[in-house]
Amino acid sequence: MRLIWDELRVALPMIWHGNPYLLSIIWFTLKVAAVATALATAIGLPIALGLALGRFPGRQFLRMLANASLAVPPVLVGAILYLLMTVQAPLGSLRLIWTREAVFIAQTILALPFIIALSAAAIQALPEGLLSQARLLGAGRLQLCGLALREARIGVIAAVIAALGTSLSEVAAVTIIGGNIYGYDQTLASATLFEVDGANYADAVAIAIVLIAMILILMCGLGVLQQQSGGIRMRFRSAT
């Protein structure tokens, strides 16, 4: 146990005194998580609504695909993005590889399955009659979507939290696409990897502590949400 205590004794003051390197990583990580999750939500929610509410052929298959996409390893996403973005590749002329923009893109793509699959599942789990009743009462598409989102909001927020969680702790795609460049496009997770590589265990421990604190805050948010929900409530105005 001595080693852990020794590392902690160096790591804790780093956090306490706000080491500038640490602060810059925290700031970039928060930016990545916020931007990626916001983008993924903006793109993913309409898709989730379409999957859950739409009545078109092949939606069953598309839902399955959405669920399967949750299981795609981030390293794989990173590798594919690399093959698309590297200099000779189709998107090579955009010069995205090893930039912050590439990290934003990679994390958005990784957050998307969580938003799409989990929101769609939450909407589909709504009480059977709710949406058909609204349809019967003449709700248009927009009204129906609004109703579904409002009623399934707990599930949707849980999906957003899951997306935030992955963008905070994901390391493979960020490293491949961003290059894990010191002081430029490192997130907390990839910086941990970087510091361990250089055997700077105290720095790595400090970064890991901040990372786990952020995850804990997120999880507490999720816990509060689940306590509050107490099942889905059936209040909705008649749609006229």
Binding site: M1, R2, L3, I4, E7, A71, P73, P74, V75, L76, G78, A79, I80, Y82, L83, L84, T86, Q88, A89, P90, G92, G165, L168, S169, V171, A172, T175, I176, A189, T192, L193, V196, Y201, A204, V205, A208, L211, I212, I215, L216, L218, M219, G223
Partner: protein, 240 residues
């Protein structure tokens, strides 16, 4: 797009001719998946059953803890474990830092939350009367556990699929704890990351990516066949 086709055309022969480096990665990945998932099952199933069936105080708190552990970032697990396994660490005398056994341990630790958190969820999804009835008929703890396992088989195997998938896809802890040594403890996932680290050969990276997809599909396929063999929850249980 010709760039990507070139990569794929370069990758296919590597796979079909059984490139030794590639085969070694595959073999390590399969071993890690099997050993770590089995270890997680051996440790996690009793814990999950206790959480799902037990009636003791603090069960809810433990359940919340188990759920939260699903969000544990892999790099955090990695750094925690490596500090224990380094020569100066608490288990340093084992001398397994940067070896395959360390990778087994890391991946088992990462697979464990899936088993521990999802087993109680699976049991709670059973028809409410089932377990109460078995209890009323005088089933002992072991009988009750076996009944719960058998009836919740479908959801349990979904948990096993998630756990095994994590052991194959995960890269943060493997790299930290194993050191990502080629030919020793490199898995498909960490090998894939390594290829981009040192601007390696892209056909090889593409080949690893293809192999990874195949391994995940085969793993999910086999487990799904096992899962679906009984087809639905059956209410067969003998009187105790």
């Amino acid at each position: 797009m010709s760039y990507i086709w070139d990569q794929i055309r370069g990758a296919i022969p590597l796979i079909t001719h059984g490139n030794p480096y590639l085969m070694n990665l595959l073999w390590v990945s399969v071993r890690v998946a099997v050993i770590s998932t089995s270890a997680a099952l051996v440790v996690g199933l009793p814990l999950g059953l206790a959480l799902g069936l037990g009636r003791f105080r603090g069960r809810r708190a433990l359940q919340i803890l188990a759920n939260a552990s699903l969000a544990l970032p892999s790099v955090v697990v990695g750094i925690g474990l490596v500090l224990l396994l380094l020569p100066q660490g608490a288990f340093g005398s084992l001398r397994i830092e940067f070896t395959l056994p360390a990778v087994y341990i890391a991946q088992a630790l990462l697979a464990l939350p899936y088993i521990v958190a999802l087993t109680p969820a699976a049991i709670q999804g059973l028809p409410p009367g089932l377990l109460a009835q078995a209890r009323a008929l005088g089933a002992g703890r072991v009988q009750l556990s076996l009944l719960a396992l058998r009836e919740a088989k479908i959801a349990l195997l979904a948990a096993v699929i998630a756990a095994a998938g994590a052991t194959i896809a995960e890269v943060g802890a493997v790299v930290i704890v194993g050191g990502n040594f080629e030919g020793r403890d490199q898995t498909l996932a960490s090998g894939l990351m390594d290829q981009f680290n040192y601007s390696g050969q892209q056909p090889l990276a593409t080949a690893i990516a293809i192999m990874m997809v195949v391994v995940i599909l085969v793993m999910a396929g086999v487990l799904t066949v096992i899962q679906q063999r009984t087809g639905g929850i059956q209410m067969r249980f003998r009187t105790a």
